[in-house]
């Protein structure tokens, strides 16, 4: 018999995450309708910590765009942007966002407000080109925050190292400049105690997110990193620095610990534990996952949950006693980690193969995102050369269904699982 606690806990993160997401879009629509201010930001270094201190609602154009693909209307937006002159070969997120703004903010989930300010990091170069479009469209302040990343493989430096301290000083100086710009945009005076409060909530999310990801080491895995994980990720980004977000992750950890304790996995009977590398195939989001789960494949981890959370997976905790200095250090370490998850992910994956009992790695490079995709073939070669782990390399897109060939994809996925089954059989025979 299923207990009340089981009923309450299992699946709660998904239910509450979906509701929070709807609420968030509802608030954005309200902001748009009432002409309120909003900040456009990106997932890799949203600087929500500062923006929330000024009560600025945040809009994530990446999330808006992927929602058009999940809701199967992305092609309409892409076509409008391409009619305007944007190439089929550039990022689909940019084009969907551009077309949505051309429509006055009409989005399948509601109304997106116009920006009063845009804040971005250099974690993705397309962020920069994208923000330049807004600069032209809206004549708003565009603040680019340079976050210097890892200079070479295994070359991360830490506090006390001359290079790290140089980078941290630069990030801190830029954050102070951002605060000044926010004061000008909102007409509000910066309140450092409010920043402390926001950082405290952000800490709750960071700690919870790290814990949730680590808990998926459990066998069977507790959540599907590709599907469930994307819901959690949305909350981690949209509600960063809020009491709501912090509470959500506290409850999510509770759910996952309960599931781990009771051996409750996902709906899939776990035969093969997989890691996903890349960006999800949103145009066929559910079907893409099914092509794996039908074979008993579960995604126990995804690099997407690392870089698309801006490196929150590191679990960096801000020191609220020295808020701005610590924020600079945390942003530097976290966003750098997000970049490492894209460029040097082979190092982390190699370490995970044993501990997470990984049976295979699925590389999914996409046309739209060269940041994530350019190095994947080489990283796969490297990993295959040094570690005995099967992998699959399938290319498609996160937005553009013209380059998503479901039948071809299924053929390759089926062949991959046949190989895994044969490998397992041979290992059993010895």
């Amino acid at each position: 018999m299923v207990s009340d606690k089981h009923e309450e806990l299992v699946g709660r993160g998904n239910r509450e995450g979906a509701q929070l997401f709807r609420d968030w879009f509802g608030e954005l629509s309200h902001t748009a309708e009432t002409g309120g201010q909003a900040a456009y930001v990106f997932v890799m270094g949203s600087l929500n910590e500062i923006l929330k201190t000024f009560d600025l609602p945040v809009v994530f154009p990446e999330i808006n765009s992927l929602q058009t693909a999940v809701r199967r209307v992305a092609h309409e937006y892409l076509a409008e942007a391409e009619d305007y002159g944007y190439s089929p070969d550039i990022c689909g997120y940019v084009k969907a966002d551009f077309a949505m703004l051309q429509r006055g903010g009409d989005h399948p989930m509601g109304q997106v407000p116009k920006p009063s300010i845009a804040v971005l990091t250099n974690a993705c170069n397309t962020y920069i080109k994208w923000a330049e479009i807004w600069e032209r469209m809206f004549e708003i302040p565009v603040v680019t925050i340079d976050i210097p990343g890892t200079r070479e493989a295994d070359g991360q430096t830490w506090s006390g190292h001359v290079d790290f301290d140089n980078d941290r000083r630069y990030v801190e100086a830029q954050l102070r400049e951002l605060i000044t710009t926010c004061e000008e945009v909102t007409g509000k005076k910066f309140d450092i105690d409010k920043l402390r409060e926001v950082l405290h909530h952000a800490n709750g999310i960071s700690v919870g997110w790290k814990k949730v990801l680590e808990l998926n080491k459990t066998r069977p895995s507790l959540f599907n990193a590709l599907t469930d994980g994307t819901i959690f990720l949305g909350v981690a980004n949209g509600f960063r620095g809020t009491a709501t977000g912090s509470a959500y992750f506290e409850r999510l950890v509770e759910e996952m610990e309960y599931k781990a304790e009771h051996g409750i996995g996902t709906l899939t009977e776990e035969l093969y534990r997989l890691i996903f590398v890349g960006v999800p195939c949103y145009p066929i989001f559910r079907r893409f996952n099914e092509m794996f789960t039908e074979w008993g494949g579960t995604f126990i981890h995804s690099t997407y949950l690392w870089f698309a959370s801006g490196g929150t997976n590191r679990g960096f905790e801000y020191d609220t006693a020295r808020p701005i200095e610590s924020l600079a250090e945390g942003v530097l370490i976290s966003v750098r980690d997000a970049m490492d998850s894209m460029f040097h992910q082979d190092r982390v994956l190699a370490d995970m193969i044993e501990g997470y009992h990984v049976d295979g790695i699925i590389y999914h490079p996409i046309k739209s995102c060269r940041t994530v995709s350019t190095g994947l073939a080489d990283a796969r070669r490297y990993l295959s050369k040094h570690h005995d782990v099967p992998s699959l390399f399938i290319e498609s897109d996160m937005m553009d269904r013209r380059v998503v060939s479901e039948a071809q994809m299924k053929n390759r996925i089926d062949a991959f699982f046949e190989g895994l089954a044969s490998r397992r059989q041979q290992a059993t025979i010895g």
Binding site: N122, K129, I145, R151, D163, N166, A173, F343, A377
Partner: protein, 388 residues
């Protein structure tokens, strides 16, 4: 090094010397770099767009501009997926095929693809493979200080490669060499702009391009010798449209494409290899040379789609380039699969529409070999202007 690495042009007529320059540019075997290495020299390969080459030069290294090559990426192809520009693949190709041996590789986060290169290189080569983080927020009051520190970090890396210190005096001497080099390239572009009938587009391109594969002292000697000869040519102005070519800040069009353009019009300004001409004025010699280089990158520099600066809205910069060059039309190009180039094309063309300025939009690839169709289109475009 005692012996010049590029001697083929010496004691030749101007036309023959220019032929040697063009041949060198099109040679995917990097013979000058090989000669440098045979003399015991070390090589710093730096990917497009800009690198403070003075840092490597002062250490006695040969800075080599990695800008792809007219070659098929037969070895490198398996290291990449689809949907990528050619230069990314061919740059790795020349390295993994052994045509270009390096002691240091540096790339920059200029675009989403290129920022992966240091990691890719690092998985395939044992020498240091790094990213140099040039600021994308030059509008921060702290950006120059940051860049000075970043250059100092790179200087330490270079010192590790050569096994010796790079002194301020050595760096100042290198800055002086490069100042002279930039002055000579400005002189060449003055010729292109003021008397374009004296130097063909392809020759001008080759004269700049070889600077990225030979020591700058040699490049200075070559330009100092040939530029006066070019000025003394007895060419005659023809009735051709003056155009600006925009879109070659990273991947380079094949020389045949530049040659084709030169047959149809005067290319009076462009962004070919803009990184070599990035700094527009002399870098100050006095004071901290590293700081001076950093400040010059931010305060005395050109523009490109991959460098963000709120003071330099790209379409305004293009309009200014057109105005200064007294151009009558612009070719708004982009390398295939080049995200920043393709995105900037939209801003450029809409601005040109608003100002009612003639333009021709095109994509190119460094490996393209057929130009007939493109030539026909360009000629039609230009004839429409000539006989409108």
């Amino acid at each position: 090094m005692n012996n010049p690495v590029f001697h083929e042009w010496r004691d030749k007529t101007l036309d023959d010397a220019l032929t040697e320059c063009r041949d060198l540019v099109e040679d995917p075997g990097f013979p000058t770099v090989k000669r440098w290495r045979e003399q015991g020299g070390k090589v710093a390969g730096h990917f497009q767009v800009y690198f403070p080459e003075e840092l490597a030069h002062a250490a006695g290294m040969l800075p080599v501009k990695m800008r792809g090559a007219p070659t098929e990426p037969t070895h490198a192809d398996s290291h990449f997926g689809s949907y990528l520009c050619s230069i990314i693949k061919t740059s790795l190709e020349v390295a993994v095929s052994g045509k270009l041996e390096l002691d240091l590789f540096v790339s920059h986060p200029i675009c989403d693809a290129a920022r992966n290169l240091a990691a890719i290189w690092g998985r395939n080569f044992d020498y240091p493979c790094q990213i140099l983080y040039l600021p994308q927020n030059p509008n921060s009051a702290h950006s120059v200080t940051y860049l000075r520190d970043e250059y100092n970090r790179m200087k330490r890396t270079i010192e590790g490669v050569v096994g010796g210190e790079v002194t301020d005096d050595a760096l100042r001497a290198s800055v002086a060499v490069f100042n002279e080099n930039r002055r000579l390239m400005r002189e060449l572009y003055d010729i292109k702009r003021e008397t374009p009938w004296l130097v063909s587009a392809e020759d001008a391109y080759a004269l700049v391009s070889i600077g990225g594969m030979i020591p700058r002292e040699e490049h200075n000697e070559l330009l100092s010798t040939l530029l006066p000869q070019i000025k003394n040519r007895s060419g005659r102005q023809e009735d051709r449209i003056r155009i600006v070519f925009e879109g070659a800040f990273c991947e380079q069009p094949p020389l045949d494409l530049v040659r084709m353009l030169g047959r149809s019009c005067y290319v009076v300004d462009d962004d070919f290899l803009i990184g070599m001409r990035w700094i527009l004025e002399d870098v100050p010699i006095e004071g901290d040379p590293v700081f001076n280089l950093a400040e010059s990158y931010i305060e005395r520099s050109s523009y490109s789609p991959v460098q963000h600066d709120l003071r330099k809205r790209k379409e305004d910069m293009l309009l200014n380039r057109i105005k200064v060059a007294r151009a009558e039309a612009v070719i708004v190009a982009a390398a295939k699969m080049c995200e920043p180039g393709l995105e900037e094309q939209v801003a450029y063309t809409h601005t040109l529409d608003e100002t009612n300025f003639p333009y021709f939009v095109s994509e190119f690839e460094e490996n393209m070999t057929s130009f007939e169709h493109l030539e026909l289109q360009v000629e039609t475009f230009l004839e429409n202007l000539l006989f409108a």
